[in-house]
Assembly symmetry: C2
Homo-oligomer: 294 residues x 2
């Protein structure tokens, strides 16, 4: 059986819009493509205006709403995944108000996966400074009866962007961060059995993180990749808007290399094209430059 | 003898404006205060709109000109130091056009100090990605008959901001970067004897950098701190606008703790206040929030 190869052939194949302030969200797109290879995808990185983390909630809401409108109005997205922790934490409502399609963020699926994975009810979360300051994961986990301890790991994004995803320095930095986090948890009498990767860059560090968290005599901690959790949630939640995976031919992982993906950025197309393929697991192709204004 | 303690007492003491896109430029301010403790200083970090490095030249020029106008028109600066490599590289002309006071960037003084320090005529430059991509140091050094080899060291700013300025991980990262740089230089037949710190964060890493560059059997390489070079150049160039250091009572290094410094930021005052003192070498005090528009 064949599946759509081009936009014309795709006909009614649904378009899923994926939005991030940068290009880290390409890890979420990668997870989405693996689960919905028959869909079409439009990805927008608002690279001209990053980092969102240092901006006010109102500014972030305006930027995210403009980006969402581009994906829906210009790219025909019938559903949206907000593959950005900051925007998911601070602007999900504003985005939902701005566009008439279902919108899914990364935080709720990550917390739900932690709930499903944890027997003790205690979970750890690592993320950027901005995400930790928002306490969005702690709130989402708390809403599900979990106790969450969050830790900012500001060196991990630069290490990934330097390409040191399998480097002794990165392994050492991860070991230091996770040792500090486990010590803090022990001091608070917590007994964590799950670790949420609360940043879209971190899936590239998963092997090193699993090595660090599984080592020694400490009890095992399960790693929750919120990119994977979000893709699974998208598959369930968008059922009304996109055909269920069983209704359409399911190409193999190899064939999903041919899924249609259009990438856009608001600036820094060069860096996006250079680094993006590592996040997406395949070439990002030409990245379109979009002007959303100041 | 006494020197001005307050703005009122200071009377005619000159105000030097210092501008950066973030707060790294506080290392330049620190060097300026050490040389002109009798002056008053107004520092602006355009933190809401950083990083400048990923933006277009036109946008950077507009941001930098607005920031310079704030320092001159609102804070009464009679001279300006652009303590930001990106703005110095891409917007010095635009700033000079925007304000009627002398303006000094960080790149020219760094290159001049390298020229004075180098016997071989070959120099190394480490800086951020954006500064290296601008090749501003290579051009400034080339104009003085030097051959410069530049290397981007994107992990160093995050390591400084994490507070790991005396950490084994940072020492290892510096060793890796400098080994790569020296190997590249050797491959190109260069014989460098000076290393320019082309980023305002790097003075905090000077001890580790000197350790790494001085080690082993390789010939000695002199470290040029462009913050120090810029402060020395400011003292010379602003002679007409500010009294020469010999004309005014010179307080000791201890007394320079009392030099009047007013700090402003366009966002993220919390991070500025938390991290700034490490860069400035004394508390930054209350940081005023300034709105320069989008």
């Amino acid at each position: 059986m064949s599946y759509p190869q081009t936009r014309e052939e795709a006909g009614n194949a649904p378009t899923v819009g994926v939005f991030d302030s940068g290009f880290g969200g390409l890890t979420v797109l990668r997870a989405l493509v693996a689960r919905m290879p028959w869909a079409r995808f439009a990805f927008l990185g608002d690279t001209a205006r990053l980092p969102y983390g240092s901006k006010s909630r109102r500014t972030i809401a305006r930027y995210a709403a403009e980006s969402a409108q581009f994906l829906v109005n210009e790219q025909g997205a019938q559903s949206l995944v907000i593959a950005c922790n900051t925007a998911s934490a601070l602007a999900l409502d504003a985005i939902q108000d701005a566009v008439p399609v279902p919108v899914l963020g990364v935080i709720e699926p990550g917390a739900a996966a932690a709930r499903a994975a944890s027997a003790t009810g205690d979970v750890l979360v690592i993320a950027t400074d901005a995400t930790v300051h928002s306490h969005a994961y702690a709130a989402a986990c708390g809403g599900k009866g979990l106790r969450a301890l969050e830790k900012a790991c500001p060196l991990l994004v630069p290490l990934v962007e330097e390409g040191w995803t399998d480097h002794p320095v990165t392994a050492e930095v991860i070991r230091i961060y996770l040792d500090e986090l486990r010590s803090d948890a022990a001091r608070q009498g917590m007994n964590p059995d799950a670790l949420v990767l609360g940043c879209t860059h971190y899936p590239l560090l998963r092997p090193l993180i699993e090595q660090a968290i599984g080592g020694g005599t400490q009890p095992a901690i399960r790693v929750i990749d919120s990119a994977e959790s979000t893709a699974e949630a998208a598959l369930r939640e968008f059922e009304g808007c996109v055909p269920a995976i069983t209704d359409l031919p399911g190409p193999s992982a190899h064939e999903s290399q041919q899924t249609e993906i259009r990438c856009f950025a608001t600036d820094s197309v060069e860096k996006f094209e250079r680094l993006g393929s590592r996040f997406l697991g395949r070439p990002v192709g030409d990245v379109g430059l979009v002007d959303l204004g100041g």
